[in-house]
């Protein structure tokens, strides 16, 4: 371990970072992605209404954490690859999308700081799926995933309160409560809570303002 080591956590000087609270949760009829909306450069909030939930395909979305530039570039490239894939093979699976993300982050781990959660609704399997791809480029299929600096504060909460086969409303509440706590205790997270709900019937976007989530 003392020989070659790469500093994967390092942000370049003056770089914009998503010191973030993000999560994605599978439920009965699909999957919900959630994120705070704060982007920082040092102590300054460069954007307080950031959208960290990014579309890769109609029903494959991702939550971005780490460097804003790196994660945007990676998401753009994955979107491009999946467009080509679609034209040849049809709609890609969530696993395929996660694999493309993995290849990019794993092969370029020395240059990227990107922690991504890929989540989507598979119309063939009729279910939601979540893949967590942390800094080194490994892939972890999970029932739910949390990531970003704020996630450290909600491991216990999520572990205690997540239940399999929740309905949509229960899951929305779970994500809202979890992110509310993450934002409360993490100084690098804040702003509004954004949600994307992926189900059989399509895509639904929700937004919650501080007044609504602060005193849950």
């Amino acid at each position: 371990m003392n020989g070659i080591q790469v500093d994967i956590n390092h942000l370049k000087k003056g770089e914009v970072s998503l010191g973030t609270s993000i999560m994605a949760v599978t439920f009965d009829g699909g999957v919900i992605l959630g994120a705070d909306s704060r982007t920082t450069t040092g102590a300054y909030i460069a954007n307080r209404v950031t959208d960290k939930l990014t579309r890769i395909d109609d029903k494959i979305w991702c939550c971005r954490s780490g460097s804003a530039a790196d994660t945007q570039a990676v998401a753009d490239i994955v979107q491009y690859h999946l467009e080509l894939y679609t034209s040849q093979y049809g709609t890609p699976s969530i696993e395929t999308a996660a694999a493309v993300f993995k290849t990019l982050t794993y092969e370029n781990k020395d240059a990227l700081s990107a922690g991504i959660i890929v989540a989507g609704y598979d119309d063939k399997k009729k279910k939601g799926e979540v893949y967590s791809i942390p800094l080194g480029g490994s892939v972890h299929k999970q029932k739910y995933a949390i990531a970003g600096s704020g996630s450290a504060f909600i491991y216990g909460y999520c572990d205690k309160n997540y239940r399999e086969n929740m309905n949509k409303e229960e899951t929305v509440e779970f994500v809202k409560h979890s992110l509310s706590q993450a934002i409360k205790w993490d100084g690098s997270s804040g702003g509004v809570i954004r949600l994307v709900i992926l189900t059989e019937s399509g895509v639904e976007r929700l937004i919650f303002y501080p007044d609504e989530y602060e005193n849950l």
Partner: protein, 261 residues
């Protein structure tokens, strides 16, 4: 090879470590720039001070750049980079619109900018507010040197961005009129001019309304005109010493008398 040449990078780094001489530094536009959307358009504005360290290099430089007739951007960061990257993307946007037989779009310029900047990993020190109108409507974005982008109804960038954002956060409201947006943008720039030492002099402005030509208002406000000097410093002719005089014949001159009959 295409792209920028990094041939001298190692040599300069070596020279900088070996000698104690100060290598020349690029002029940075310690700047205030803002962008504000209004009901059927968008306005961007900038101050006009350019600095080299604590010295004012240019009292009235132009930080508003044209990418296409209806897409403009305001630049902060390294002056040369904002200028070069804006011209490069401007050219490519024009070629692209000719090829596609379509009006250039703001998102096209934005995507080209972010991909170019990401490729150079922040070494191209361009921080831009990109705005404009296209068949899709009015748009306002910002791009950072590392290649990240943001969307917003009001944005500010540069060393004076905190002063400007203070004004934007306290006075912005939904559905501004064109006149209100112009007032808000220029007030935000003035906050930078007065309170940020990296910004100063005048306010430049560009208004882009959907379906109309962009209006570039150079020196829209000039609140920093210098007062008259106390004294004239005109020197009497001959005050400067002539130390040496030398006349060089650059051609042979032949003289002859011509008799007029």
């Amino acid at each position: 090879m295409a792209g920028l040449s990094f041939d001298n990078y190692q040599r300069n780094a070596f020279l900088a470590s070996k000698t104690h001489s100060n290598l020349p530094k690029a002029t940075s536009t310690g700047t205030t720039i803002v962008g504000v959307k209004f009901h059927n358009g968008v306005v961007i504005a900038a101050d006009t001070r350019s600095t080299q360290g604590p010295i004012v290099a240019d009292k009235n430089c132009a930080k508003l750049h044209r990418i296409s007739p209806r897409i403009w951007c305001a630049g902060a960061g390294t002056a040369a980079d904002t200028e070069a990257v804006t011209q490069l993307i401007g050219s490519n946007v024009e070629l692209h619109s000719l090829y596609a037989k379509r009006q250039p779009r703001v998102v096209t310029a934005l995507q080209m900018l972010k991909q170019h900047l990401f490729k150079y990993q922040g070494h191209i020190g361009a921080y831009l507010i990109v705005a404009g109108t296209d068949p899709t409507g009015a748009h306002l974005f910002s791009v950072q040197a590392h290649g990240s982008t943001d969307v917003g109804f009001y944005l500010s960038l540069g060393s004076g961005s905190l002063a400007a954002m203070a004004v934007l956060e306290s006075n912005w409201k939904e559905d501004l009129s064109k006149e209100e947006a112009i007032k808000l943008a220029s007030d935000a720039i003035q906050a930078g001019i007065w309170n940020d030492l990296g910004s100063g002099s005048n306010v430049d402005l560009c208004v882009m309304e959907t379906g109309k030509d962009a209006e570039y208002l150079r020196n829209y406000i000039t609140p920093n005109v210098r007062e008259a000097k106390q004294k004239s410093y005109k020197f009497e002719r001959g005050t400067t010493a002539v130390l040496k005089e030398k006349i060089i014949d650059i051609c042979e001159v032949e003289e002859e008398q011509v008799l007029v009959v």
